[in-house]
Amino acid sequence: MPLELTINGGRYDVDVPVLATLAETLREELGLTGTKIACGEGHCGACTVMLDGVPTLSCITLAHAVGRRDVTTIEGLRDHPLVAAFVRADALQCGFCTPGQIVSAAALVHDDPEPDGETIRHRMAGNLCRCGAYPRIEEAIKTWRG
């Protein structure tokens, strides 16, 4: 089924089945592989993208359900100061969860530019990091403006 999506400010025409997830569509149809799939069931946060600025699990969101909402993926946040902050704070090890972490964090600092530790822990608890970079993720978000 044909579908029009707005992703990182650009318009995309795709033709995907009714049950295709947004994550699959981004990765397989559009080559936007920065969005990762780690559990495929909405439990880990690796696939997080923003829909109209709201962090959303793209692995359990149907592409056809996105509608007119703006999709923001890590590819649209590559120059966000959070990226450099993550590297500076060593807030990643294997890096597989990192795009999802940064998307969630970008939504957080947009809502609250100076989040305290408790806010960070609350807002980021849905993004798992098996390497355990958590203390540095908190540090990166606290120092995101450099």
Partner: protein
């Protein structure tokens, strides 16, 4: 004959061909080695120009921006997708399967049934064991193909109780027996004897990138794209599986999304993908789903540990005895669970027996310090129970039993700074009174500690090449892998140091067996300790050639020249930018090569540490909160203090998951794995993390290699569980003896404590 650095220990005048010992994950093998290492003077201790200084990950930006290609991001035109039929039962017989129906299903291009591939079975011995596989135009079509197989089963009674397995002689490994001295005599000499049974659970690795491989054949040669901890091991396994020369297998692994020991081997998914690719003539991807990951990609095996310690009133250990029953699953190997009890303390009389029970559960695999994590929980809890009985300070008890050589064979340690770790732990330990005083209401607070011993010395072989172009920039080439530990960064730092270059002028190219020399497994905390010296040697070789060229160009003696700050510097005054020297060469390149030399002869290379945990326990609900962990570790020279601190924090956090929340649950009747998803299986989140204070002793091991660095990946996860359990005892008086310490276990321990007190009173 080659002369090695006099600081290396062992025989300096080694022959070129020597016999040396290699250790991975505590498994030792002897091997022949051609010594290629040139003598390089050891670097001084402490921070140098680049080594020993914090460096942000050289690949951090690309990873964080989502630009790098992990195995799931590799795209090859015409790729088919595989799905695997797995046993839904812990033990069963396949009574019917319709392979032809699956072959006729839409989009299906090939089907493998039991008999088509050695690893596919019609009598599975665990939930999740591969039975058949389908390749199709999409993963959805492949799954539909599995349904078309219409498999039917006759479930059989599973064997799940490891003690029962040992009684029946159902063993994968062992019994492994070890004795020194006379434990009977040691117990007779003891003033106090403590006996206890400890249990640890099975936990799941859950690297966020699931196991997968993309295989393609070209002209009878196989290329495997896979996220692995051991490029060269996958090459060897796949060559053997398909009867190929090893050079006819190419393994590509540029980025890995975590491993933790579960990605040490090729795995059935790689063999299945390669066979389906062979049959279809197309690239085939076989990727595990998260649920498959939690069934059949390995686990840390559960243990039952029956331990006895005897000690004199002054705390001197007179006897240690341990019986270990390790529930390995349907297959696997017996890790050294008794290792810490045998090695950590000086004790003359020690006796252990380890059984590797074969039960109908998914096979174990190495998981970050296999055996030692489990064994340290038992041993270090036992020591604290002893300290309580003796009314001795737990840290003092450990000091009184300090070993100055390996207690198992008397070998001297190449470097042991555990006493220094203890000293540096004192301020953290001294917070006890303040922490306890913060107890209020039903919340009790306490502090506990636990010691750690592990391998991590690495060994040969490992090779690196260093290429310097006319712009004076360097490229390190080696076919190793970076599983997220920061290998690229550490190797770049080492080469930069030796070449006197800033870090940004060094690149590291790794992860392709066709484009670089042999490199060690990223397991057993052996990457930096094995690979680092080879990289330094290769950079040293290139540096020597640069000095030679500069000496001729500027008519100076080579010995007065050195490389630093991106320049060739003469001791007699004068310096030239490196690119001025290398620029003479045009398109020519300077090629340095280096190899990992042998470990010091007759010495034991080990890592040490101690952790101090602070906890709060709600004695009414059984809730346990870890509030602070101090981790002090001795791993020789620290190459990158920033990456090292991250590793320690990550190890502690994974250790806290093991301690408090993670557990693979089985249906006790059927053996079915219940925790297949990341909501059922609870790994720590950012909200679960306490304050973590990291301290590294950072003293180069003067006997170990031209680098003096040991591995750090595993040590920090080892003592965490025992430190937390001991803190709980400090807070509540209750003896926690089973992991995970969930509310049920905590309340059980508190009830036992109350009963014991009531018994005394009565």
């Amino acid at each position: 004959m080659r002369r090695l650095s006099p600081h290396r220990g062992g025989d300096q005048d080694l022959a070129r061909l020597i016999r040396t010992e290699k250790e991975v994950e505590g498994k030792f093998t002897e091997q022949w080695l051609v010594v290629e290492e040139d003598a390089l003077d050891p670097w001084p201790a402490g921070p140098l120009a680049t080594v020993g200084r914090p460096a942000a990950r050289v690949d951090g930006l690309a990873r964080a921006r989502g630009e790098v290609t992990y195995t799931p991001d590799v795209r090859l035109p015409g790729t088919l997708h595989a799905a695997v039929l797995r046993s839904p039962h812990a033990r069963a017989r396949l009574t019917r399967i319709d392979v032809d129906a699956a072959r006729r299903a839409p989009g299906v291009r090939a089907v493998l049934g039991p008999g088509d591939l050695g690893l596919l079975t019609d009598e599975p011995g665990y939930h999740g064991q591969p039975v058949a596989a389908v390749a199709a135009e999409s993963f959805g079509r492949a799954r539909a193909g599995l349904r078309a197989l219409a498999a039917e089963w006759e479930p059989l009674e599973p064997l799940l109780d490891p003690d029962e397995a040992v009684r029946r002689g159902s063993l994968v490994g062992g019994p492994k027996r070890y004795t020194r001295g006379d434990v009977g005599r040691g117990l007779a000499e003891a003033d106090v004897v403590v006996e206890a049974e400890y249990r640890t659970q099975s936990v799941l690795h859950n690297a966020l990138e699931t196991h997968q491989a993309l295989c393609v054949w070209e002209g009878g040669r196989l290329t495997v794209y896979t996220g692995t901890q051991f490029v060269w091991g996958v090459r060897e396994e796949m060559a053997e599986a398909f009867g190929l020369a090893e050079d006819d297998v190419r393994v590509v692994c540029r980025y890995v999304g975590g491993g933790f020991g579960a990605k040490n081997e090729a795995g059935s998914f790689t063999v299945i993908a390669a066979e389906l690719a062979r049959r279809t003539g197309r690239p085939v991807r076989c990727a595990l789903t998260r649920r498959e990951e939690n069934l059949d990609s390995g686990n840390r095996n559960a243990t039952i540990q029956r331990l006895t310690v005897g000690a004199r009133a002054d705390g001197t250990l007179t006897a240690l005895r341990g019986e270990y029953v390790c529930a390995l699953g349907w297959d696997g190997w017996l890790p050294s669970t008794a290792g810490p009890l045998q090695m950590l303390y000086a004790c003359e009389n020690v006796e252990t027996v380890e059984y590797g029970a074969r039960v109908n559960t998914p096979p174990m695999k190495a998981f970050r310090a296999p055996g030692f994590v489990e064994g340290t929980f038992g041993l270090e809890c036992l020591l604290d129970e002893l300290a309580a009985r003796l009314e001795l300070d737990p840290l003092e008890l450990r000091r009184r039993n300090y070993s100055h050589s390996d207690p198992t064979d008397g070998r001297p340690f190449s470097g042991k700074n555990l006493a220094d770790c203890y000293r540096r732990a004192e301020p953290h330990w001294a917070r006890r009174d303040v922490v306890r005083a913060r107890s209020e209401g039903s919340w009790r607070r306490g502090v506990g500690l636990a010691s750690q011993i592990w391998y991590g010395g690495g060994g040969p072989p490992s090779y690196a090449w260093v290429r310097v172009g006319s712009n004076g920039n360097a490229v390190v080439v080696t076919a190793m892998q970076d599983i997220g530990t920061g290998t690229r960064t550490a190797m770049a730092q080492i080469a930069a140091e030796e070449l006197g270059l800033p870090l940004e002028r060094v690149r590291v190219e790794l992860g392709d067996s066709a484009r670089g020399p042999y490199a060690v497994i990223s397991g057993g905390s052996s990457t930096v300790s094995s690979m680092g010296p080879a990289v330094r040697a290769a950079a040293g070789d290139a540096a020597r050639q640069i000095r030679e060229i500069a000496a001729q160009r500027y008519q100076l003696e080579e010995r007065v020249l050195s490389l630093r700050d991106g320049r060739v510097v003469s001791a007699n005054g004068g310096s030239w930018p490196l690119e001025e020297v290398t620029g003479l060469l045009g398109d020519a390149q300077i090629l340095g090569k280096g190899a990992r030399g042998p470990n010091p002869t007759g010495m034991r290379v080990l890592t040490f540490g101690i952790q101090v945990a602070e906890v709060a326990v709600d004695v009414e609900t059984g809730e346990v909160r870890v509030e602070r962990v101090a981790a002090v570790h001795d791993v020789g020279r620290v190459v990158n203090p920033l990456g090292a601190a991250s590793q320690v924090e990550g190890g502690v956090i994974q250790g806290l998951g093991h301690t408090l929340s993670e557990q693979r649950l089985l249906d006790p009747a059927t053996g079915e794995v219940l925790t297949q998803t990341l909501d059922a299986y609870r790994v720590p989140t950012i909200a679960d993390v306490p304050e973590i204070a990291v301290e590294l002793v950072d003293v180069p091991d003067e006997h170990l290699t031209n680098l003096g660095a040991k591995g750090l990946g595993e040590p920090p996860i080892i003592p965490t569980a025992a430190a937390v359990a001991n803190a709980i005892r400090d807070a509540t008086g209750a003896d926690v003896r089973s992991l995970p310490i969930d509310r049920e276990e905590m309340l059980r321990a508190l009830r036992d404590r109350e009963r014991a007190l009531a018994g005394h009173a009565g």
